[in-house]
């Protein structure tokens, strides 16, 4: 691994290599620093500026007033507005609630699916997990769109239900919170199943046999052996659902109604319709703060589950 532990005669080759690790590492580092990390400084700066009818639509925090004089004006108005107006608070609360419930639904549906795949015969596992991942790679927008055709008042689901005589009047699912849950669970299920499957497939089967030898029934075995051992994968999967759902825009916009407010949707409206960049930036920072905690947890559980082989998932 370490080029500095090579044999004696390779030192001539290495004389030029001493600086080369940095020659390799510096390019991705620079790109990430400039285009991924620095932008957050500008988000902070613009969240503290004042909205204005200008191009771009805000007054810069740092302004040169006259020769050599620079004025720095911080405006906390956007943050005060966020905690003052119930619209923003209810959007934040609704995002947290939606993300929590969707994650719980993904666990309820995804766990049996991941468990079934992991306990299938070995030659079935790779094709099955590939089948689960394939929809993940097809257009996100199209997958949400598919549900619009199914859920709307005169859509596929209502036609089938009324055709079979199960319901008399069409169900009003479209443009409700229920439609948002369906859309989210559908779109994010593969994210949950994959890390959980990776953990389940590596479980130590001798423990199950030992439990069986000691007289534990299948259910006892599952709850005392399999479930506790799969917690790292379960948590990694849950975070991969929870974090992006908190910032979700497309699903509440297309499947939700006017009362399904979420941070992502409010941010989008503030930015594109109201041209209030400072408030949109402040919202982004609130969202980011809410996410840092679960992200730290994700890193912790990822290390524990040693989810190392994404090749299997492609």
């Amino acid at each position: 691994m370490n080029p500095f532990r090579l044999g004696q005669n390779s030192w001539t080759a290495l004389s030029g290599l001493a600086k080369s690790p940095w020659m390799v590492a510096i390019w991705p580092w620079l790109f990430i620093a400039v285009f991924f990390l620095t932008p957050f400084l500008f988000v902070i700066k613009i969240s503290l500026s004042e909205a204005a009818f200008a191009q771009p639509p805000y007054l810069d925090v740092v302004r040169s007033v006259s020769d050599g004089l620079v004025e720095i004006k911080l405006n906390f108005g956007s943050y005060l507005l966020l905690f003052d107006d119930s619209l923003y608070l209810s959007a934040i609360w609704n995002s947290v609630k939606t993300a929590l419930i969707s994650t719980a639904l993904c666990i309820l549906i995804g766990y049996p699916l991941a468990y079934s795949i992991a306990s299938s015969p070995a030659h079935w596992r790779v094709p099955l997990i590939m089948f689960v991942m394939l929809p993940f790679w097809t257009s996100f927008l199209i997958r949400v769109y598919a549900w619009m055709g199914i859920l709307k008042t005169n859509g596929l689901l209502n036609n089938v239900l009324m055709g079979l005589g199960i319901v008399d009047a069409p169900l009003e699912i479209m443009h409700t919170q229920a439609a948002v849950y369906i859309g989210i669970v559908y779109s994010y299920l593969p994210f949950f199943v994959l890390p959980l499957y990776a953990t389940l497939v590596r479980l130590d089967h001798t423990l199950l046999e030992a439990a069986a030898d000691l007289g534990a029934g299948p259910l006892t075995q599952f709850f005392t052996v399999t479930l506790p051992q799969s917690v790292p994968g379960l948590m990694a999967g849950a975070m991969l659902v929870f974090i992006p759902v908190m910032g979700e825009f497309v699903i509440p916009d297309l499947l939700g109604g006017p009362d399904t407010l979420m941070i992502g949707k409010v941010m989008w409206t503030e930015f594109f319709s109201n041209k209030d960049w400072p408030v949109a930036s402040a919202l982004a920072l609130v969202l980011l703060t809410l996410l840092i905690l679960p992200f730290v947890l994700l890193r912790y559980f990822e290390r524990r589950s040693e989810l190392e082989d994404p090749n299997e998932a492609v």
Binding site: P21, P28, F42, V43, W137, M148
Partner: protein, 266 residues
């Protein structure tokens, strides 16, 4: 694991059914003759013909393909370098922070990446006059931020399984590090690089949110056209477009999967 056999089979059928039925419904209804999407009135391929005449859609698709190819190429170069330095130069200072920064875009909500990138581009334009306005270049840069993270994961896991003693042997025999990389390392990780390119391309072509923030007038990508049309409701033309996209992506993903599977078997 021989327990719950019937239950497990039921879970598989229900789970995969849930994942595939909505997609199937879009495909089936794309061949429906009626403009009323939910009323079946016979087989037809006329909506595919309508697609080919929609100039706005075709030019948006072409722009998306161009942005996707540029993004994937840039992401593969940067992602491979990142993966190489993460696996081979573990001793470098700051590697833990570097690792965290390369992985963070994987879970960062798109709306934050989009907004943050746009604010960067606007501020940079004010400070240095670059990038002048927004369009193809700014979308490619913003897409590379998250596409590169995926490439890094794929290439890194492949690289971790490559025996570094071959590289060391080449160095011992006097090959320069650059030569070693191009003649020994690159051919062994080529399948992961190809798969990474395809994944980055797919992610870029699919993205709506980041592109909406970083695009300018005259640079409308395919998802942006689809989104503005989908907001108005379900249409048979979009069903046809969706079917074309699903078919192309499935083919891409299957090729990427086969490339990786075959390289593992060797």
């Amino acid at each position: 694991m021989k327990r719950f056999k019937g239950l497990r089979l039921a879970c598989l059928v229900l789970g995969l059914g849930f994942l595939y039925l909505p997609i199937l419904s879009v495909i089936v209804y794309s061949f429906n003759e009626s403009r009323l999407v939910t009323v079946w009135s016979g087989w037809s391929t006329k909506w595919y013909g309508a697609l080919l005449e929609n100039q706005q859609l075709l030019s948006a698709a072409w722009l998306s393909v161009k942005i996707g190819a540029l993004t994937a190429t840039l992401a593969v170069v940067l992602g491979t370098l990142a993966a190489y330095s993460l696996v081979r130069f573990k001793y470098l200072r700051g590697q833990a922070q570097f690792e965290l920064s390369t992985a963070a875009p994987l879970v960062m909500p798109e709306i934050i990446i989009g907004l943050a990138s746009l604010l960067l581009f606007v501020s940079m334009e004010k400070l240095f006059g670059w990038p002048a306005g927004r369009g193809q270049t700014t979308i490619v840069i913003a897409h590379t931020v998250f596409a590169m993270a995926y490439v890094t994961v794929v290439v890194r896991s492949r690289l971790a399984h490559v025996d570094s003693s071959i590289e060391e042997a080449a160095l011992d025999l006097g090959a320069r590090p650059v030569t070693v990389f191009f003649t020994v390392t690159l051919p062994t990780i080529a399948p992961a690089i190809i798969a990474g390119w395809l994944l980055a391309f797919t992610l870029s072509v699919d993205d709506l949110v980041v592109a909406s923030f970083t695009s300018g007038p005259g640079s409308t990508t395919l998802p942006m056209v689809v989104y503005s049309s989908v907001r108005l409701g379900v249409s048979p033309e979009i069903n046809a477009l969706a079917t074309v996209m699903i078919t192309l992506v499935s083919v891409f993903v299957l090729i990427a999967g086969l490339v990786l599977a075959r390289s593992r078997d060797k």
